[in-house]
């Protein structure tokens, strides 16, 4: 187990080549704009996330980090801008094509959002619903065998295959977040978005979740995670971007993130 400080040199961003699909841009955001009423939340955000890298998004509350991610998966409709998922523009798409393209991007949440009364396994199976015909998903027992097998592989990938039959509500916070990651994996995404994935977790569980996210990036996923702990970002991310008042203010390698940048980033928390 790593200690909380002083080890970031050991996990400094390595050259991206040599990883599966490395460098290929999976998510491309350009000039994204969004206002809620008179409040401008995104003021022309641009961001690239390549396969094989974990990008951390830092910023004060209200700086637009979560909104940017929510625009990608369609939970928020942007006013203007471009979002390309695996090279395909999603703004302006509709119907089955939009659904199919968006399925490439999976998301995990701060509040985890598992169905608490369902088992870990049933929750993971939910990730595959987008590619199962409704008639095969009406009852859990009707789910195709290959989907069920795949869900087990996903649970195994996050190290929780032995808890498959347990109710989600009986797992610890860290375990629940890992089940949520397994559910996201069952969606077969190329992009994994994490909206404050460790804000509700204790330090040890947070480390475990972040190292899992980094391993998934090493396996070829494009991972973008909103974090509130600059220190964790330094130790786990390949790249760190800072958002302030809806704009990208820096895009640096972890070792370039100094205290001045951090202080400036959180100095002007907006009063709303």
């Amino acid at each position: 187990m790593k200690t909380a400080t002083g080890t970031f040199a050991g996990v400094r961003a390595q050259p991206l080549d040599g990883r599966r699909g490395a460098g290929e841009v999976a998510l491309q955001i350009r000039d994204l704009r969004k206002s809620f009423g008179s409040r401008l939340v995104l003021d022309g955000v641009g961001l690239d996330v390549g396969r094989g890298e974990l990008v951390a998004l830092l910023g004060a509350n209200g700086s637009g980090k979560s909104t940017a991610l929510r625009c990608v998966v369609g939970l928020v409709e942007p006013d203007a801008g471009s979002v390309r998922i695996a090279g395909k523009e999603v703004i302006g798409l509709s119907g089955a094509e939009l659904t199919a393209t968006r399925r490439e991007a999976a998301m995990i949440f701060q509040h985890i959002h598992l169905v608490r009364r369902s088992s870990a396994f049933d929750n993971v199976c939910c990730g595959a619903l987008g590619r199962v015909h409704p008639s095969r998903s009406l009852l859990r027992t009707l789910l195709p065998a290959d989907i069920r097998a795949e869900a087990m592989v996903c649970l195994d990938r996050v190290g929780l295959a032995d808890r498959a039959a347990d109710r989600a509500s009986r797992l610890s916070g860290g375990q629940q977040q890992r089940v949520a990651i397994a559910r996201a994996l069952c969606q077969r995404p190329s992009i994994l978005l994490a909206d404050e994935p460790v804000s509700a977790l204790d330090p040890a569980a947070a480390e475990r979740v972040l190292s899992l996210l980094r391993q998934l990036a090493r396996d070829g996923l494009a991972v973008a995670a909103v974090l509130h702990q600059p220190d964790l970002a330094r130790r786990y991310a390949d790249r760190i971007v800072g958002l302030q008042d809806g704009r990208l203010v820096f895009d640096v390698r972890p070792e370039e993130l100094d205290e001045d940048r951090i202080a400036a980033l959180y100095a002007t928390e907006r009063q709303t």
């Binding site: 169905v115 939910c126 619903l129």
Partner: protein, 274 residues
């Protein structure tokens, strides 16, 4: 107390005011409420003296009612049969209302309604069914299909759709939105969100509410019997008409046993599934 000394320069606490607009509003509201009770007392012709004057009437009544008439063939067995029919009316009235109540609950919950028009229509229908008491439905159906348990079942069914649908739609609306959002993001369709996020979350509540309604419906079907819709209530009606209060007391004791048993069994099951 060094910790408190440090806060000696703190701002003074907000002033406590006895007289304020809020105080005035509360006083006015209480005054209006008291006035309403005075008016109600008058309009409902409440009278202590009439109650005292009627006292011997009640004593006569109890005199005739006690001891209860417990003859098996003439009174007790018909009462038990009647109680069984009452139970059956409640059972069918509750069970047959499930499909329609379920449909209207899903269409009448803000989170699952396909659009506002359907939502409003379902809500209105539920409100109507809920607003009409089952006894009114029973009177209508007794006129239409004649005396007996059948109109009782129909009346309970209609009213129960209204209440059950409302309670269920509220349970659906209270499901936490997070997992629903997560499944939408994962590409699940509306029907899949219902089957995989909403159903698991509301199942225990649905069953609990259903048992609660069954329990209420057993008591309602007693009243329905009084207007001719079968069961033990009908027997009570007859006993009253024939001034056989000793028979009526037996019937009431049977009802008491029935209600206690149903209450306890349903409470036990609800506790188990909670």
């Amino acid at each position: 107390m060094t910790i408190l000394e440090a806060s000696a320069h703190a701002l003074p606490p907000p002033r406590a005011r006895l007289w304020s607009w809020r105080f005035l509003c509360i006083a006015l509201a209480l005054g209006a409420l008291a006035a309403a009770h005075v008016l109600a007392w008058r309009e409902t012709e409440m009278s202590v003296s009439t109650l005292v004057e009627g006292w011997h009437g009640m004593v006569d009544f109890f005199d005739q009612a006690v001891p209860p008439d417990l003859r098996w063939d003439e009174v007790l067995r018909p009462a038990l049969d009647g109680a069984r029919v009452t139970l059956y009316i409640a059972l069918l009235g509750t069970t047959l209302s499930i499909p329609v109540a379920l449909l209207l609950a899903v269409l009448g919950a803000r989170t699952t309604a396909p659009n506002t028009l359907v939502y409003q229509a379902s809500r209105s229908l539920l409100s109507f069914l809920r607003a009409v008491p089952e006894i009114v439905f029973a009177l209508v159906f007794v006129t239409a299909v004649g005396l007996g348990p059948f109109p009782g079942v129909l009346a309970l069914l209609l009213h129960n759709v209204g209440v059950m649908g409302k309670l269920w739609s509220e349970a659906i609306e209270e499901v936490e939105p997070g997992p629903i959002e997560a499944l939408r993001v994962a590409g699940a369709r509306r029907s899949q969100v219902v089957t995989h996020a909403i159903v698991p979350a509301v199942a225990p509540q649905f069953i609990g509410l259903l048992l609660y309604r069954f329990d209420v419906n057993v008591r309602s079907s007693l009243v329905l019997g009084l207007v001719g819709a079968g069961g033990i209530g009908f027997l009570i009606n007859q006993s009253i008409r024939l001034f056989r209060f000793d028979e009526m007391l037996t019937q009431i004791l049977v009802i008491l046993a029935l209600v206690v048993v149903v209450d306890n069994v349903s409470a036990l099951i609800r506790k188990r599934i909670a």
